[in-house]
Amino acid sequence: MLLEAVSLRHVYADGSIGLDDCSLAVRPGSRNALLGANGSGKTTLLQHFNGLLRPSAGRLLWAGAPVDTSRAGLAALRRRVGLVFQNPDRQLFSASVFEDVSFGPLNLGLDEATVRRRVAQALAAVGMSEQAERPVHHLSFGQKKRVCIAGVLAMQPEMLLLDEPMAGLDAAMQVELLAVLDDLTARGITIVLSTHDVDFAYRWADDIHLLDAGRCIASFAAADLPQQAAALRQAGQAMPAVIELHRLLAARGVLETVPPRSLEALLASLSLQESS
């Protein structure tokens, strides 16, 4: 396993509990969705993965070894694990796109030529090369999100954490962002994102981790989600619409028993049947 949370507990300064005996594991190169309602501990868990928060109890393991919480240890963790925040205006603090993306790699102590190369590569990866010289406040919300991702990619992390990446994006921007994520997965980067959209999690992820009240109540392959009705109910999530629709169609003998992962795939199956 690349990253493992073992019985993590986090109590905030005001006494509220962020995580409570939360355990889950992330496979290298996999696409993971932390699925849960608001306040279920998704952001708190992501901030533990990046070392921004320290557990009150429990352990975090990277490649099987406990994460070192010294200054140097945290720097090493953050080099491997990049975090993209939910609100881009809370992450971008430099005035221009190029400058902001250069912030992370410069903090790694790299020389200027390497940083320039990495910035160019990261901006190209998210399709923002043309906007490199533009001021951040002239960008759209979706473009700011992509700059945030580029800012983390320029540090060349092994794992990318995204906190509610689809929040605030329109349909076209979501498609663009998904293409970026697919490209990153193809390069072998492990992705963990938080979401409360069960349809999206089922469609996109390899592994789903269900969170409820600060605890991971179930981790399973996304393809096994139809068998997790009880856990979904406990986490306050509905069954994905495509599964419900497929179940009804399969009961009428219209479709086969293996449910597709998206409405598009379901429609494609129906079209195929109709034409044959």
């Binding site: 901030q47 990046n50 921004l52 200054r71 720097a75 953050r78 080099r79 990049g82 975090l83 925040f85 609100n87 205006d89 809370r90 992450q91 971008l92 603090f93 430099s94 005035a95 221009s96 190029f98 400058e99 902001d100 250069s102 912030f103 992370g104 410069l106 903090n107 790694l108 200027e112 940083v115 320039r116 910035v119 010289e133 001021p135 951040v136 406040h137 002239h138 800012g151 983390v152 540090m155």
Partner: protein, 243 residues
Amino acid sequence: MLIEQAAYRNRWRQVAPEAKACFALAGLVAAFAAGSPGAAAAVAGLLALTTCLGAGVPGLLYLRVALPAVGFLALSCLTLLVAVDGDFTWRWAPDAAPRIAALAGRSLAALAALLGLVLTTPLPDLIGLLRRLRCPELLLDLMVICYRMLFVFSLALHDTLVAQQARLGYATARHSLRSLGLLTANLAVQIWQRAHALHQAALARNGDGPLRFLTPTFAHVGRDTALAALGGALLIALARLGG
């Protein structure tokens, strides 16, 4: 926002900031070297023309940006024309006119020099220049954060104002006062939250010291600066000759 608009959309956007700063400095020197108010006013006019015709900054935009400063200068000059006697009575002081003319001329020329710089150079380029000139890191960090936050908070201010207006927050004078208080309190909390969030964001990218960024590179720094220095020297010479 007008300054921002001009700084990103002028013909000298790709001219090295070193060159523009050099020319602005020469403009300031020329303002003080001018031997007469007329010469100083001529320097101001030349600098304004250079900004508008050379860099392509729209004249109307230039006037709108200059207007508050010119208005302040006019008001100051008017007050200087008034003398207050020992018994707290006032009278016009026409004898101060030459000094006021000199002051106004120099101020106008200095203003035109600075406007030429800020209307053609985005702040990130200026901060990059200051970084190369070894300006203290703390000052630069503050400039970076303040500049970025200016836009973040203008957006937050706008959103909150609209939300208040939508619920009749400014319907009466009493409501306006209350809404303004709530707006101030809300923004104060947001400032604190944003500061914390930015700190977290910097930590997440291993930033726990000075804010380090790469600054854009410019192709012809030497050539541009030499040309600016030449133009600046001519300007100073004209200012001296004009006296």
